[in-house]
């Protein structure tokens, strides 16, 4: 016989379970849009004639009415509500019925195929391989999903606001007037203050993280005894494991008041949500990131280069500065780029410690806002999906995604190239 008994068994199990499971999943994914579509047909004619926002509103009303009885209903919506209840009941029965019968049909077909001459192992293995392949496809689908969602919403945004105004405008005030005749906030989407704020805070973070992280990495890999290294390295890495919301709390309630107090003593005017506080704490968060990446690249420098330098009479520090650092430079640059991308994308620290006011300033004691903070403030809470205010968050997300993607891509390439050089 070609296959073992358990191969036949597994094959049966796979054929019975997998198609039904796939069916159930696609059903669940498609259920909501299909039901919506069927409901629209039941709405009164005047609502159907209206624009999509009105239809959406009516649909959500119908859902609310169906889920909680006792609300006073608009009688014109009642047919739709009843239709929804009937639909829900019917889909539940249909759903489980079809899935079960599919199970049964597959079971019978496979059972009849079980013969000594069936190459069950080969067939089972190819199904398993297909499942493995589709799992690794999910990572690709994620990227496609990110791109699709961000691009689509951003494109809708750029229909209303020109990309030039968005990328080069210097006023950011996303509050759109509710009525046309309302005065004041007209909604302007010039993102330059956000970019400047993000860069300012990231710069402060880098000023802290790069020298300290690099020096710590050099000390731990070149100077420290193995016992010191054994405890100091994990201890530093604990800093990277602390949730960012904890850093945010620390920045907002301990560091920011401290800096403000210090500034007032020195006669400086410090905003209570200064860029400095957020930047400092973010820098501390990024130290282990820089240090562990630089540690890797420094360790990758071959021992023969060090020995050569020592042989010429150089001290340890001269060897490090004139041989190891230049040799490891591409890798270190890569590490710093990854750290920058991390700083740009960091959300919680800035959301809690940096402000909301979009000031275009280079003064670290002033309050600035960042791209991520604005995405959070624009999207947290209820929002309608066609207002430029909500869509602006996706446009910002697109910029953030592209910038970090380019930084990561280039940095990973550099690090990889550099590793190959000495392997």
């Amino acid at each position: 016989m070609h296959s073992l008994p358990d191969h036949y068994g597994t094959l049966m199990a796979l054929w019975t379970g997998v198609p039904a499971l796939i069916l159930l999943m696609t059903w669940h994914l498609l259920e909501a849009p299909v039901i919506d579509y069927l409901l629209i047909a039941q709405l009164p004619a005047e609502i159907q004639a209206a624009d999509s926002a009105q239809i959406q509103l009516a649909i959500s009303k119908v859902y609310n009415l169906a889920s909680s009885s006792g609300l006073t209903a608009d009688p014109s919506l009642m047919p739709a509500v009843e239709h929804l209840a009937a639909l829900n009941e019917r889909t539940a029965i249909l759903n489980s019925g079809i899935a079960l019968s599919l199970c049964l049909v597959c079971f019978v077909i496979t059972y009849r195929r079980i013969q000594p001459k069936l190459r069950a192992r080969t067939e089972m293995e190819s199904i398993v391989n297909l499942l493995l392949l589709s799992s690794s496809g999910i990572a690709v689908l994620t990227t496609v999903g990110i791109l699709a969602s961000v691009l689509f919403e951003a494109w809708m945004f750029f229909q209303q606001i020109s990309p030039i105004d968005f990328l080069f405008g210097t006023t950011w005030s996303p509050q759109v007037a509710l009525r046309a005749d309302q005065s004041g906030s007209s909604g302007s989407f010039g993102a330059v203050p956000l970019f400047a704020g993000t860069l300012l805070i990231s710069l402060i973070a880098m000023v802290i993280a790069v020298p300290i992280g690099l020096m710590a990495a050099i000390y731990l890999s070149e100077y420290a005894s193995s016992s010191v290294r054994k405890y100091a390295k994990p201890a530093l890495e604990v800093l990277a494991g602390i949730p960012t919301v904890v850093y945010g709390f620390f920045a907002a309630l301990t560091v920011a008041p401290f800096i403000r107090m210090l500034g007032t003593d020195l006669g400086l005017e410090v905003s209570s949500e200064s860029a400095l506080a957020a930047g400092l704490v973010m820098g501390v968060m990024i130290i282990p990131f820089v240090s562990s990446l630089s540690d890797d690249v420094i360790n990758a420098v071959p021992q023969s280069m060090r020995d050569g330098s020592y042989g010429l009479g150089a001290t340890k520090n001269e060897t490090i500065r004139q041989v190891i650092i230049p040799a490891a430079l591409p890798g270190i640059v890569g590490a710093v780029m990854l750290a920058v991308s991390r700083a740009i994308g960091e959300t919680m620290i800035v959301a809690m410690a940096a402000g909301l006011a979009a000031n275009l300033t280079a003064n670290p004691l002033d309050s600035v806002t960042t791209v991520t903070v604005q995405i959070v403030t624009l999207l947290v809470g209820d929002q309608e999906f066609d207002s430029p205010k909500t869509l602006a968050a996706f446009a910002l997300g697109l910029v953030l995604f592209l910038v970090t993607l380019i930084l990561n891509f280039v940095a990973l390439k550099i690090v990889q190239k550099y590793r190959e050089q000495y392997d």
Binding site: L132, S135, V140, T142, G145, I287, G345, M348, A351
Partner: protein
């Protein structure tokens, strides 16, 4: 070299009087030695200072949060005697649970307090009642439900106090006046001081903090709902990301043909690991909520988003674990006639499992601390009820911390720090498990 040998007899003192141009190489080296040694020491000090700074930050962060947070585990209460007047409450010993739930315990407490402490005028009465937490009536109700026999007797009970009283008792009791926060009036302080002298105010372990959901009243707010939400969210994440991650890693490491397509998938996974987490929130919002209609604020949705976020981490560590299994194992299995799948599933996978589990725990720890993408998908809602299952609206611990940190009350700041301590202890637990697992199970080949 011969040059330095000939000048061997020259001493340093002599060479100092010579012009620099006449210096020999050896003299130059000797002259520069002290400077170079100083530079060496300096450089070493910079390194030590950097490591020390990192440690210092860690220590400062922990002590700051611990010093703010430990008080959250204690709660102030007042020992009181209360007569459970059946005629006032309108209850009998045979009353049903529903009737007890609707009885006016708040009025009972107010009546008793007004009788005992005799406030003069409406302002003072109001101030007196403000000292007691709204949770106090709930305590009496529970006591009565636990034992209906106590009706019409006087019971002694530790009544929950308001958060202002709690803060005063825990921090400012020794100050003669209420300087730090002027939330308490002089009359209120005189009552409180009396109670302290009588030894009736006391702190107890704050069980409510661990058994309650969120609340607008700091003394009633707890993290039970957030912890349950976190566990449910992490459960969804683990159930999805572990099998998918391991399957993807097996495919990429063992089965994938070495071609352009595979390379793209690999680059893609590495880049995805470095995408800011907030982007995954945007994805969850646009795809899961708007296209697939998953309901907002649920652990299911949170788990889906966190799965996509942790998948790259898990895939990368699982691949490293598979790579570390030596080829000799595979060859031995092939030699015995195993098929490719049998080699992978019977031999490579079990041997790589400890490494995969370690990576998964670390991925889960990352998911546990994640906040930003969950803000986007509506997990910031004020949820009082403890979620029962993955489709109930809920919040998670980091988001609860974010929400509380916004509240102006001092008591909420304390609770925020307390919740952070709980979150950090979960993280320590997970990371220690990962380290132990690695030490115990990971083999060196």
């Amino acid at each position: 070299m011969t040059d330095s040998k000939t000048t061997n007899s020259n001493t340093l003192t002599e060479s100092k009087n010579m012009k620099p141009t006449q210096l020999t190489t050896r003299q130059k080296v000797e002259l520069s030695l002290s400077r170079r040694r100083a530079a060496e020491t300096r450089f070493r000090m910079y390194g030590m200072a950097s490591v020390f700074f990192g440690m210092l930050c860690l220590v400062v962060l922990f002590t700051d949060i611990a010093s703010k947070g430990t008080a959250a585990f204690k709660q102030t209460s007042l020992k009181t005697e209360i007569f459970l007047d059946s005629s006032y409450l309108g209850l009998t010993k045979d009353s049903k649970v529903d009737e007890v739930r609707f009885a006016n315990f708040e009025g009972l407490i107010k009546r008793q307090f007004a009788k005992n402490f005799k406030p003069s005028g409406r302002k003072e009465t109001r101030e007196l009642f403000k000292l007691i937490s709204p949770g106090a009536s709930w305590q009496i109700q529970e006591a009565l439900l636990a034992n209906p026999e106590v009706l019409d007797t006087t019971i002694s009970i530790e009544l929950l106090m308001d958060d202002d009283v709690d803060q005063w008792f825990k921090h400012d009791r020794d100050l003669s006046t209420d300087e730090t926060n002027d939330r308490l009036s002089t009359k209120q302080l005189s009552w409180l001081n009396n109670w302290v002298e009588e030894g009736r105010l006391d702190t107890h372990f704050n069980t409510l903090f661990f058994t309650n959901g969120d609340s607008r009243e700091p003394e009633l707010a707890g993290i039970h709902g957030a912890i349950k939400g976190t566990l449910l969210t992490l459960m969804v994440t683990l159930l999805l990301s572990f099998p998918i991650g391991v399957a993807a890693a097996i495919y990429l490491e063992e089965f994938a043909p070495r071609n352009r397509m595979t390379e793209i998938v690999e680059i893609n996974i590495n880049n995805l690991a470095a995408v800011p987490s907030i982007i995954f929130g945007l994805l969850g919002m646009a795809i899961f909520i708007n296209v697939f209609g998953v309901s907002r604020s649920t652990p299911l949705l949170g788990g889906l988003v966190l799965t996509l976020m942790t998948l790259p981490t898990i895939i990368i560590s699982a691949r490293a674990a598979i790579k570390s299994v030596p080829p000799s194992i595979r060859e031995a299995a092939y030699g015995l006639g195993a098929s490719k799948n049998q080699v992978v599933f019977h031999h490579v996978l079990p041997l790589a499992m400890p490494g995969m589990l370690t990576g998964t725990i670390l991925g889960m720890a990352q998911a546990l601390g994640e906040t930003a993408p969950l803000l986007m998908i509506g997990m910031v809602a004020f949820v009082v009820d403890v979620p029962g299952f993955i489709n109930d609206p809920s919040t998670v611990l980091p988001v609860q911390i974010f929400l509380w940190s916004d509240s102006p009350e001092r008591a909420f700041m304390e609770r925020t720090s307390g919740a952070i301590l709980v979150l950090l202890s979960f993280l320590v637990l997970m990371n220690t498990t990962a380290v132990i697992l690695r030490r115990r199970l990971e083999r060196r080949w």
